[in-house]
């Protein structure tokens, strides 16, 4: 009655063409992302040597005290503390978390009204223009944008000159080299990353739902709380992750705005990797930071899981 089913050959099958399609990207991702990641993981459990990493397994880069191997093959008498044991690393990690949570909160809270305005109050024909204008800060390099804030907030910068020129303050305000300055700078730098996902989520909301909310007795504001906000949470969650994950590892802003006086975890990794040439410890700190970011993100997603289920 029916022909025996032919086993589809791999070549020419849909799976093969799919793999062929993603192969350039996959290759790129494996070479430039997975391989360095694996190398970092491997380095973090090896022994630090003079200008090299010695393939001798140990966990002291994470916990306890480690000793580097010197050029002559003997172990250094001066030990160093592993990433989790070192109070300095713990302090920097905590500070990085604190700063990035502040930055994320500030960025998303400021981005939401902008996204809302563009989605609900801008004529449809002008929305593309507005989005275009929001991305204008991205036309200059990230480093230059961060540095520009220095021009604004330094002791002789624009803000202090204006305040003193108008005789509002007599002495210059100390704004640079503070955590607040870092939060402001980072919040500005990441604003478009937060605005765009929230805008997309707001755009997807059927406007008749808002009328339905009012029809069922809610004011505009309570309709926002009961309908608009929960339906835009997918965008808010995306914005939070997009801002939080890169800011925790940022090391340009602490250098330029913090003046190196308020280092974050990335500055520590940089120092170990390049200046102290302890790639084993640097890798262990990097892996630890990744674990912290991953853990915080998973907890955040778990707390918001009710907004993420079901088709929108």
């Amino acid at each position: 009655m029916s022909e025996p089913l032919k086993r589809p050959r791999f070549w020419g099958s849909q799976a093969a063409s799919g793999l062929a399609l993603i192969s350039p990207t996959a290759l790129y991702a494996i070479l430039l992302l997975a391989a360095p990641l694996a190398a970092t993981l491997v380095y973090s459990v090896m022994t630090d040597g003079y200008l090299t990493v010695i393939p001798h397994f140990q966990l002291c880069n994470y916990i306890g005290e480690c000793h580097s191997q010197l050029a002559d093959g003997t172990m250094s008498p001066d030990g160093y503390l592993g990433a989790w044991s070192d109070p300095i690393v713990r302090t920097l990690m905590a500070r990085s978390l604190f700063v990035s949570i502040l930055v994320t909160a500030a960025t998303v809270l400021l981005a939401y009204p902008v996204a809302y305005f563009v989605s609900f109050n801008v004529a449809p024909s002008k929305k593309a223009l507005w989005l275009f204008m929001i991305t204008i800060p991205f036309w200059t390099s990230y480093v230059i944008r961060v540095f520009m804030w220095n021009v604004m907030i330094s002791r002789t910068g624009v803000i202090n000159s204006v305040l003193q020129g108008l005789h509002i303050t007599s002495d210059p305000l100390q704004m640079s080299f503070t955590i607040q300055a870092m939060v402001i700078t980072l919040a500005h730098a990441y604003a478009p990353f937060a605005i765009l996902p929230i805008f997309v989520a707001l755009e997807k909301i059927d406007r008749s739902l808002l009328e339905a909310g009012q029809d069922l007795g809610e004011t505009r504001f309570t309709t926002f709380l009961r309908v608009t906000l929960p339906l835009s949470m997918t965008g808010v969650i995306a914005a939070v992750l997009i801002v939080f994950i890169p800011t925790i590892g940022d090391y340009v802003t602490p250098n330029l705005i913090g003046g190196g006086k308020i280092p974050m975890i990335a500055n520590m990794i940089e120092k170990q990797m390049l200046k102290a040439d302890n790639r084993a410890l640097g890798s262990a700190i990097a892996v630890s930071a990744m674990l912290v970011v991953g853990l915080v993100s998973v907890v955040f997603l778990a707390l918001n899981r009710r907004y993420l289920k079901g088709p929108k």
Binding site: D206, S208, L209, Q214, D215, G217, V227, P230, Y307
Partner: protein, 366 residues
């Protein structure tokens, strides 16, 4: 339908402009309490705009809208005694069916258990018992509509507004829902205002219909009167099919109008029951519905008058056959609808036949 019923909604010379566009052009009408009222018209006629002025989603440029005797110009939608079933149903996708139905009960002083019971009752009323825990986005179109109905009716509004609620459903489901909506309206007894472009839907469901064209009400009447005595040819054409023959008014006296009708000859018509429209200087028109004239088969006698005709087109529908026939002495064919009785042949194109008709079924448009 009697005038004894109290007025629920009153429009007094309502105008609405969108920039230069004049969307509502002087709407004056009253809708009675407990009435199933329809706003019928082609798309762009302003029927949805008029409905939205009742709900409060559209302001008006001039005029007055009264709901239950109260001017609602300054009343926002959330404080009006109206609830709406949206064309898209506007079911909240992030909530369950029960949360959707209970959405408007937040400020209700009843206990949570009483509210839950009210939600269950509302779901039972629309035939969705046991669906409360389901995710709203997993419902079919027909179920969404029932949820939208329950969500509006649970608040016991004075007026339920329905914006083309059946247009997204397939034909069978739509016909079932029409009957269910009529039953529901009789059961709850509140005023229903339905917006539709489907004349059949309006005829089936409504106590009264306002036919709208270009921002104005062309005619406000019961379905029977709209169908039998439309005020204008536009209304006649929008509601069902009507055949037109040119005519000339010869004389008017004693409540009778004497006309000379192309193909039908000289006739006397009742001025009150058969003449419609405002007098104009130009020629008059006679109209009749396809089912009011009949093809006469061999041996059949005309009940009233008969005229010879030629079959020009035959459209077979199963239970019905539509014939386009050219009456002798006329220039354009008229359409007749014939029920297909067992044993009766379907005529071929070109057949000469007799057409039976009655002067009493004619309408004169002046």
């Amino acid at each position: 339908m009697t005038s004894a019923k109290p007025t629920m909604i009153e429009f007094k010379d309502v105008h609405k402009y969108y920039g230069d566009y004049h969307a509502l052009r002087g709407i004056t009408a009253t809708i009675q309490a407990g009435e199933f009222f329809s706003l019928l018209g082609p798309s762009g006629c302003g029927k949805t705009t008029l409905l939205r002025t009742i709900a409060g989603f559209e302001g008006i440029s001039s005029g007055v809208v009264l709901i239950d005797g109260k001017d609602v110009a300054a009343v926002p939608p959330n404080q009006r005694p109206t609830n709406m079933v949206f064309q898209s149903y506007a079911i909240f996708p992030h909530l369950t069916v029960a949360q959707n139905v209970g959405f408007g009960l937040r400020k209700d002083p009843r206990s949570a258990a009483d509210k839950a019971r009210a939600v269950d009752e509302a779901l039972a009323m629309v035939g969705l018992s046991g669906y409360g825990a389901r995710a709203a986005h997993a419902l079919s179109g027909g179920q969404r509509q029932r949820v939208a109905l329950a969500r509006a009716l649970i608040l016991k509004p004075k007026v339920l507004l329905l914006d083309e609620p059946l247009s997204a459903l397939d034909k069978k489901l739509r016909e079932n829902m029409q009957v269910e909506l009529i039953k529901l309206q009789r059961q709850v007894g509140i005023t229903f205002i339905l917006v539709t472009h489907d004349q059949e839907e309006a005829l089936v469901m409504s106590d009264r219909i306002a036919v709208m064209f270009e921002g104005q009400i062309a005619q406000l009447d019961s379905p029977e009167r709209l169908y039998r005595l439309p005020k204008t040819r536009a209304v006649a054409n929008f509601i069902g099919t009507m055949n037109f023959l040119s005519a000339q008014i010869l004389s008017e006296a004693g409540g009778m109008v004497e006309v000379e009708v192309q193909g039908f000859g000289r006739l006397q018509l009742d001025a009150e029951k058969q003449v419609t429209g405002a007098p104009t200087a130009t020629g008059a028109t006679i109209g009749f519905r396809p089912e009011t004239a009949t093809l006469l088969f061999d041996g059949q006698q005309a009940t009233d008058r008969e005229t010879m005709a030629t079959v020009e087109e035959v459209v077979y529908y199963g239970d019905m056959t539509y014939y386009d026939v050219l009456l002798d002495g006329t220039s354009a064919p008229v359409r007749l609808s014939m029920r297909n009785v067992f044993g009766r042949p379907v005529l071929d194109i070109g057949t000469r036949t007799r057409v039976g008709w009655s002067p009493g079924a004619l309408v004169l448009f002046r």
